[in-house]
């Protein structure tokens, strides 16, 4: 077990270092001098040079890369060029929208997917199954940002039940805040729910063919009892794995959907930083998202190994 964890952890660290190297290199290639950007192109050469040394831009790239990594390790994310505040202050506020949105969507997706998947598997090859499969096939094909636009036009513009976008802030109370996040969360959740419903259904069907299910039926348990006590429990293992992978899609999907609903989350921060050429903000945001995705995948790996001991034995 400890060998398995150590191996996975080493991979995690390696992936993070590799990712940071790529992100740093990409930002290095980026044209444009941040010092010129801050001071304007007409700034005198001496002022630019002094700002460059103040920002540390005159140091060699390797040194700056290591300084950046060291900073992250110490919880220090550098200074935004355009806002002149620590990057972490900017990210923290935005994350307070993006993360709840992602988790909200994830909860919706899991609830819908389990209901649909279990229902379809219990009615395998009957009308209910076919209906769920058709609905999920269509759900997979719908772009999340289009769904967002449709929801706005139906429920905000048409019926007036929701505002067309924006966020009142958590200070306005949890009710209004969640209401503002409901439509974005639904647009994010539909595709992932459709995928997860299919995974749940096929995992259930797989388990239903197992001998222990036949044994449970043979000893007189009702269909319903077997379904809930034996099948659903065992089918959850692959479902958990896929859910973990989907976290990354939901998080990056949130970046897109935030644009649709005008939510001041991480996505909007990244896009405005890109147009402002605010390298520090882009670099750290990208790294943070990558870190979250990698860390969640690591956590799922661990969880998976805890549920299914065969995996540890095979890998360690």
């Amino acid at each position: 077990m400890s060998l398995f964890i150590a191996k996975r952890f080493a991979t995690l660290v390696l992936t993070l270092v590799f990712t940071s190297a790529i992100v740093f290199t990409v930002m290095e290639i980026l044209p444009g001098d941040p010092a010129l950007l801050i001071l304007g192109i007409d700034a005198p050469a001496e002022a630019v040079a002094s700002l460059r040394s103040q920002l540390g831009l005159d140091r060699p790239p390797v040194e700056r890369y290591l300084a950046w990594l060291g900073g992250i390790a110490a919880g220090e994310f550098g200074q935004s060029y355009t806002y002149q505040v620590p990057v972490w202050d900017l990210i923290g506020d935005r994350l307070a929208i993006t993360l709840p949105l992602t988790l909200f969507a994830m909860v919706l997706a899991i609830l819908a997917a389990l209901a649909m998947g279990i229902y379809a598997a219990a009615r395998h090859n009957r009308a209910g199954d076919l209906a769920v499969m058709t609905v999920s096939q269509v759900g997979i094909s719908i772009p999340n940002f289009w769904l967002g636009i449709l929801l706005i036009s139906a429920f905000a513009v048409g019926l007036g039940w929701f505002s067309a976008g924006g966020f009142p802030g958590w200070g306005a109370g949890i009710g209004p805040a969640l209401q503002a996040l409901l439509l974005p969360a639904i647009s994010l959740a539909v595709v992932q729910a459709a995928i997860l419903a299919r995974v749940t259904r096929s995992a259930m069907l797989e388990v239903m063919r197992e001998d222990f299910v036949r044994t449970a039926r043979a000893k007189g348990l009702s269909r319903r009892a077997v379904l809930w006590r034996h099948v659903v429990r065992n089918a959850l293992i692959p479902v958990i794995t896929i859910t973990g992978l989907q976290f990354g899609f939901l998080l990056t999907g949130a970046i897109v959907v935030e644009q649709v609903f005008n939510l001041p989350g991480l996505g909007r921060l990244v896009f405005s930083a890109i147009s402002d050429r605010d390298v520090e903000v882009v670099k750290n945001c990208v790294m943070l998202v990558a870190f979250l995705v990698i860390a969640i995948n690591f956590a799922v790996d661990m969880l998976y190994a805890a549920i299914d001991p065969r995996l540890k034995a095979a890998d360690a």
Binding site: T19, V26, W146, I149, L150, V260, I274, V282
Partner: protein
């Protein structure tokens, strides 16, 4: 896997039987029709659209659905149907090129990893792990930051994202072929790794790659639409479904229908390719057929 090839390759009779089976498969038929429709519309738009997609008619702004404008016009009086038709070109171009980038580079890496094993395989797999951990939209954003927005750069970003997908899939499929007796026989006959890969491994995993290519095609269409919607994909005046949606959102209070058509075009194309992929998978993998 070998059975799948046996079903698809030898003899005209077997081919006819396969085709007959395929034409009875609902997903394959429905997906095939929708995909042909997409390709047909794109080809037709190369030679004919009702109006020039970019031509503006300020007297006919926000025209409703009518015989002269079957899907109406937008805020500049541009014909919506013509733009939808021309937008299909971009979607297909993105899908084809992005999948080709992924298939050629990714499958080559996967085949190499399976043939060489050892450190090569380890390296290829670690690279795939990394690329998987790095969300596609993020890499697209970074590539756009360096190269600037545009259709070509978004194709490149989506294509790069496809490489690890095909590398992983090809390696796994190739590994299973490498353990089979006929490969052992080929090795005993003195064939080298490259020849075995080309003559025995590749033909046996082509169907798996083809199925994945169909699915990735659909994903590429979705990704391009998202990038164009965000304004970092194709740029005006290139007609694009994603950008039409972006513009439609601004005009939602004027004409909500403008947001409907491009979305349907995207969803129908993606649905068609997904159904086609599902159908192909059923038809080429006998193991799955038996399970149904």
């Amino acid at each position: 896997m070998a059975e799948a090839v046996a079903a698809t390759r030898p003899g005209a009779a077997a081919r006819r039987a396969w085709l007959a089976r395929a034409l009875r498969h609902p997903s394959f038929v429905a997906g095939g029709i929708l995909t042909l429709l997409l390709v047909g519309v794109a080809l037709l738009s190369l030679v004919w659209t009702p109006y020039e997609p970019t031509s503006m008619d300020l007297k006919a702004r926000y025209a409703p659905v009518s015989w002269s404008h079957l899907l109406g016009t937008d805020r500049f009086g541009r014909d919506v149907l013509s733009n939808i038709m021309a937008g299909a070109q971009l979607s297909i171009a993105v899908g084809v090129v992005a999948v080709l980038i992924g298939v050629t580079l990714g499958s080559a890496l996967g085949l190499w990893a399976a043939a060489r094993k050892g450190w090569v395989e380890e390296l290829v797999m670690r690279f795939s792990d990394f690329a998987f951990a790095f969300p596609a939209i993020l890499s697209a954003i970074m590539i756009t930051v360096i190269l600037g927005p545009g259709a070509v750069n978004s194709i490149l970003a989506i294509g790069i994202f496809n490489i690890p997908v095909f590398a992983r899939l090809t390696r796994a499929a190739a590994n299973s072929v490498w353990t089979r007796e006929f490969v052992l026989a080929a090795r005993a006959a003195g064939k080298g790794g490259f020849r075995i890969t080309v003559e025995h491994v590749l033909p046996n995993i082509l169907s798996v790659i083809l199925v994945q290519a169909t699915i990735q095609f659909a994903i590429a269409i979705l990704a391009e639409a998202a990038l164009s919607y965000l304004g970092i994909g194709s740029q005006p005046p290139q007609p694009s479904w994603g950008r039409m949606l972006n513009e439609a959102q601004l005009q939602m209070y004027k004409n909500a229908w403008l947001a409907i058509y491009p979305g349907i075009a995207i969803a129908v194309s993606v649905l068609g390719l997904n159904l086609l992929g599902d159908g192909l998978r059923d038809l080429t993998d006998p193991r799955l057929v038996r399970q149904r």
